[in-house]
């Protein structure tokens, strides 16, 4: 189907349908998912899909509709529904569509080779990965391995005179295993996602990490309730920074629903903390040439040495705040209105190796897993379940399971006193190992 022709034709009808302005978001995709269990295929799922979302503004009121049938009748009917629905909402002078016609050049978003790799090879990879993860005698069971891939195209056409397109691909492989010892059971999982098939990590490396996560925490010893240093592994960084990113959402700031609402250009965290959002990183899983409403993506420093440098916005919220979009309109596909979100979040690395951080800790907890919602972006309150290792005099003493950690965002972020140098940019939220001087730990 010629989508460009289709979109141009729909945009040209916007006025006739009663829309003062309209944006049409079209998305097509192919997904493949393979799951294996105990050396055999468990499920194979494949799908092709396409859908369109219509965002319209009628006398300052905004409406939205979507459908996954691309026939002329269905599309026109859905378009008109958005106009009808818009009339229900409240007029707001901030309801605008972006008019920036540029596109950011981002390399490495689409791997043309992906489709050429046979299904047999992908199945074999998942089976091999499972086998490798089961190699260690401490691993007793598999909870499955999988391979998944997707390719898609996004088109955004607007009555503001642009039609932009990009194409992306991605693939992912992972495994979950179980280690058992007597009555004890522990699980470990690891996966790797990349834009390009050739960039996936070696299977042995993924397998070893999954297997190690399962057995390394066996034979835990409970620790007493106390205050002590807490070291966050890169895998658990999102429990802290997820809520910080949420608090930088420009709309929540305007609504007073953010613990960082009064901190623009003010220090709130340790000078070791610098947070960057980069929508332009080559091959980044969160990179795109433009955001969810067609605004060009950027690389922005959100927090610099503990000071808030800027909030994140889409066009409507930016207008309300009296500024311009930061290219952070996020979209969960054609069925959703643009919200606000980040692309690739990077916590700038520091000077210390993770080993140095452990060595310089006289008493503390090295976190490997944190459960719960993380920092609350409204209040800054933090409480979670924790698993990891107890450290005494710079050495790992024993595994710890079933403890809690808690605190307030301002205290936790201010008390970051060591930042690691082990940054892996390929993670969705890329952070190095870091240490918080002291937190409350709940145990026996």
């Amino acid at each position: 189907m010629d989508y460009i022709k289709l979109l141009n034709s729909l945009v040209s009808k916007a006025k006739d349908f009663g829309a003062d302005a309209a944006e049409i978001y079209l998305e097509t995709g192919r997904n493949l998912s393979i799951q294996v269990q105990d050396g055999e295929v468990e499920t194979i799922e494949e799908s092709y899909s396409a859908g369109v979302g219509f965002r319209v503004i009628v006398e300052g009121k905004m409406g939205f509709s979507h459908c996954n049938q691309l026939t002329d009748d269905a599309l026109e009917d859905t378009f008109k529904r958005a106009v009808t629905f818009a009339k229900l909402t409240t007029a707001d002078p901030n309801n605008v569509l972006p008019d920036n016609k540029e596109i950011t050049q981002v390399e490495g978003l689409y791997d043309g080779e992906l489709v050429k790799i046979t299904m047999e090879k992908k199945i074999k990879m998942a089976i091999d990965l499972e086998k490798l993860a089961m190699k260690d005698p401490r691993i007793t069971k598999s909870s499955g391995a999988g391979y998944g891939e997707g390719q898609g195209e996004v088109y955004i056409a607007s009555t503001n005179g642009f039609l932009k397109v990009y194409k992306t691909s991605g693939c992912s492989i992972g495994v979950n295993v179980v280690a058992e010892k007597g009555e004890q059971k522990n699980t470990g999982g690891e996966f790797c996602s990349r834009r390009y098939f050739a960039d996936l990590k070696p299977l042995a490396e993924i397998a070893e990490k999954a297997s190690k996560k399962a057995w390394e925490l066996l034979d835990p010893i409970m620790i007493p309730t106390q205050r002590a240093a807490v070291i966050f592994d890169p895998d658990v960084a999102s429990s802290i920074f997820g809520g910080v990113i949420g608090a930088l959402n420009g709309e929540r700031v305007l609504q007073g629903a953010s613990f960082l609402k009064d901190y623009l250009d003010k220090p709130f965290a340790s000078p070791l903390l610098t947070i960057i959002d980069d929508g332009t990183r080559a091959k980044g899983m969160g990179s795109t040439p433009f955001d969810g409403e067609g605004f060009p993506t950027k690389r922005r420093v959100l927090v610099e040495q503990g000071v808030v440098k800027g909030f994140i916005y889409n066009s409507i919220v930016a207008k309300r705040a009296g500024t311009v979009s930061t290219g952070n309109a996020s979209r969960r596909g054609f069925t959703s209105l643009p919200g606000i979100g980040t692309h690739n979040v990077i916590i700038q690395s520091g000077q210390h190796t993770p080993e140095d951080i452990i060595k310089s800790t006289s008493k503390g907890l090295l976190l490997k897993e944190v459960t719960g919602y993380g920092i609350d972006s409204v209040t800054g309150n933090f409480s979670g379940g924790a698993t990891g290792f107890w450290i005494e005099n710079g050495k790992i003493k024993h595994p710890v399971q079933g403890v809690t950690i808690a605190g307030n965002a301002f205290d936790i972020l201010r008390d970051i006193d060591m930042m690691g140098n082990d940054l892996d940019l390929n993670k969705g939220l890329a952070a190095p190992t870091f240490r918080v001087k002291e937190m409350m730990i709940g145990g026996k």
Binding site: E27, G29, N31, S33, Q35, Q37, V41, E42, I44, E45, S49, G51, M62, H66, N68, Q69, T78, A82, F85, L88, T89, T90, M119, G144, G146, G150, Q151, G152, T168, S169, G170, C171, S172, I173, V175, V178, N186, G189, F191, S193, T225, Q255, G256, A257, R332, G333, S336, T371, V378, T379, N381, S383, G385, G402, T404, I405, A406, M440, G442, K444
Partner: protein
Amino acid sequence: MSTNQYIVRDIPRRKFLEMSLKGGLVLAASSPLLSQFLTSCSTGSTSVPGLGIDKAIIDKVIAAALSKGGDYADVYIENRASRQIVMEESKFKSGLYGISQGAGVRVISGNKTGYAYTEEITEANLLRAAEVASYVAKNGKITTPVNVSDTKRLSFITVKQPLGDIDDAKRIEIMKRADQAAMDYDKRIKMAMINYYDEVRGRVVANSEGVYLQDELPMMFFIVQTMSDDGKARHMSRERLSKHMGFEMFDEFTPEMVAKRAAREAIAMLDAQDAPAGIMDVVMQNGWGGVLVHEAVGHPLEADNIAKKIGAFTGKVGQKVASDVFTMVDDGTIPNARGTINFDDEGTQTKRNVLIENGILKGYMNDILSAKQLGNERTGNGRRESYQYIPIPRMTNTFIEKGSSDPGDILSSTQKGIYVQSLSGGSVNPVTGVFNFTCREAYLIENGKKTTPIKGATLIGSCLQVISNIDAVGNDLDFGPGICGKGQNAEVDAGMPTVRIRGINVGGSRV
């Protein structure tokens, strides 16, 4: 790749929180799969447009699906119309209208499942999906399908005011009333966020056993969040209402009632103090707190992980796994409840399944595949989020059965601990049974009385330990609506009477 953590939420959240392989793939292409909940909304047509496909075509598709071998095949056709209206800061921020349809073909061969779907429902596309799905059945045994014919199932959902007959102005009116009631409650309420959602899901389920079923499920989900701020503290509260029913839901449960409950919590929690840390006794108020056993016990009792012999309750049927006062039920037949679906998405009649009775494990919740793998009777728990997903064992309305204790006595006989009035949600590792929950509204218990409110603490523990440590069960069973995530979403109710759990680890920030 199976999911590592099963989560349950009281409001829609972005799915990237899940540790599934699909969730790990952040792609434009996969984003429709990640977006189901917040978006769609509904008309409530009385017929099921797009579903009127000839039974002879379905027979042909099922035969094609089993042409290479396999034990079982099914066709699932779905049509969904949905409406969502969002009000924030007393303004109608957006209105969303969505329609989607699609059809999937599944083949089961031994332990293997093949699945493919199409959104343009034509004979040719269905045959192509059958071809892709049959990939797993190569060299499998040959099964001859039974031609499909209309099948009877009981219905537990009645509708007085079909969503399709409701003017949008009425929906708007409901939201305005909720906003007004929330803002009028107290001047420290600074904002209300109101989310109205309704949908009608039409489905056809047909399989190689000859089953052909068609129905329509209406669903409503109404969420009021309020934010309080007194200059010193802030709290975002939440109250939810959801049923499989028509617009008459608001006659029984008014928008004002929902809004006032939310506002009450927001104001009460302004005085919250830091929570203590460590192991203590917990009394949980009746209702949505049942999410604790949904996670801690329900997920580990889903038969898929039992069939893989990795679940925490593997091989424990007939054994004592909980205290004598503990009985737990999953019941897909509660009239109009959010977790009720008449027949599951594989066509099995939903039932009342007693999972644990007086502490003894009675059985698991299964889908067609895991029932066969374990040699158990089907329980009606094979559910799917949409045509984009295969059915897997899921809960419906899951609860702790009511006991005999007076809720007031449970509190007054607890010297010291935490009183949990509501939870936000939590997660469990189904293999180890280790769970966590976050409190939204909680208080200290001192000398048998509810005293100071405390800031949102996490509760952690292991499922086997927690159900052995429940020593008092009240006579006040109630329910709350939620969204359960297990690689895909399912609408569920969780319920319980007031209960006391001895010795849970509480994640506080002070000694």
